[in-house]
């Protein structure tokens, strides 16, 4: 079934818990297929067998067996299996097993119309102070980072660019500045609404790097197009092209990337673009 779904369009899965989600989908589609084929066959046979020209007189009583209750029971049982065996555990994992920020790569994601802002804590592992009053779009300070804060000095802030290491737990703290967005990584089977007034954690572990992924899509229409972050909730005029780019790096690449971003930061600091606006 998974192959069938994939041949229909389901992209390959790149995350560890994505497998469980796919399993749930597969089970449900088996159920659907059996029901559909079973009833479909019954339907066609009945229509053929009992057409007026063949069966002039209808039978008042019709079906006498109670097989149908058995079938309804079977549907109920499959649904119970799906609930207890698949859906509850997956959901429990999703909302209860959120890794602590020390055990995982912790990234804040702040959505806004129509971009994704990423906030990495930098080398110290602690997020610097942000303040709504410091937001200044013309200065590119989208999330109001306070560079004078000691923890904020090394924070990396990016728009629409997200890097994560492979095979490591990622914890994203998701929020939104204006309207509801949805942080969706189709290939990682991640999706979560970003709701203003609320911070919601999402966690996942990628098991394939972007490079491997790009290798595997060679020759398909997807060739050359890397992973993307989609917005899956109507959020206004350019909702349709609100997207970010996701790169799944190897551990090394990821550290290199962090280092290069940090270098850029030092340069920024000398220019003194941010930080001294204490007169707020």
């Amino acid at each position: 079934m998974l192959e069938l779904l994939q041949s229909l369009g389901l992209p390959q899965n790149l995350s560890i818990q994505g497998e469980y989600i796919d399993n749930a989908n597969v089970l449900m589609h088996w159920l659907m297929l059996y029901l559909f084929l079973g009833w479909g066959a019954f339907f066609i046979i009945s229509l053929y067998k009992f057409r007026e020209s063949k069966n002039k007189k209808a039978d008042y009583y019709g079906v006498k067996s109670h097989l149908s209750s058995v079938l309804e029971g079977a549907v109920a049982i499959v649904e119970i299996i799906a609930l207890f065996g698949f859906s509850y555990p997956i959901w429990a994992y999703r909302v209860n097993d959120v890794p602590d920020s020390r055990d995982a790569v912790n990234i804040r994601v702040i959505a806004q119309q129509f971009a994704w802002n990423f906030h990495y804590p930098g080398a110290d592992g602690i997020f610097g102070r942000t303040d709504i009053n410091l937001v200044d779009e013309s200065e590119q300070n989208f999330i109001g980072i306070d560079r004078s804060d000691a923890f904020a000095k090394d924070d990396i802030i990016l728009q629409n660019q997200m890097h994560i290491p492979v095979n490591k737990k990622i914890r994203v703290d998701l929020s939104s500045k204006d309207v509801i967005h949805n942080f969706k990584l189709p290939e990682l089977r991640v999706s979560q609404d970003a709701i203003p007034g609320m911070t919601i954690p999402v966690h996942f572990t990628a098991k394939t790097t972007s490079d491997e992924f790009l290798e595997s899509v060679k020759g398909t229409p997807r060739e050359g197009k890397g992973l993307e972050i989609a917005c899956a909730q109507l959020c206004g005029i350019t909702h349709y092209r609100m997207r970010g780019y996701l790169t799944v790096d190897t551990e090394e690449e990821y550290n290199d990337w962090l280092a290069s971003e940090a270098e850029y930061l030092d340069f920024g600091d000398e220019e003194d673009e941010w930080g001294d606006d204490e007169d707020w």
Partner: protein, 109 residues
Amino acid sequence: MSDNHDTASMQDHVRVYLMVFGALGVLTVVTVLASYLKLSTSEGIFLALIIASVKASLVLGYFMHLITERKMIIWILVMTVFFFFVMIFLPLISNIDHAGNPTQWWKVL
């Protein structure tokens, strides 16, 4: 309503209405007084709602004749009240049982 209510039985009704009126007045005063008691918020809410419900039952039962009303209407109301509570409590519970934290976006957790 049917004609079997003759004037005499109507007068009985009227007496009941006046008694209920008195009771409602008293309960209103009690509600206000209770709000001056030094109760904790939850106790206060509980007490106020209890009194309000008693008053409501009086109005429903006597002024609106619900105690002698037909089964069908009672059932419709029971169902309505059930959905009423569903509508009030499920959103509340789901707000409490929530994966996220109600924080402002710029506050780092």
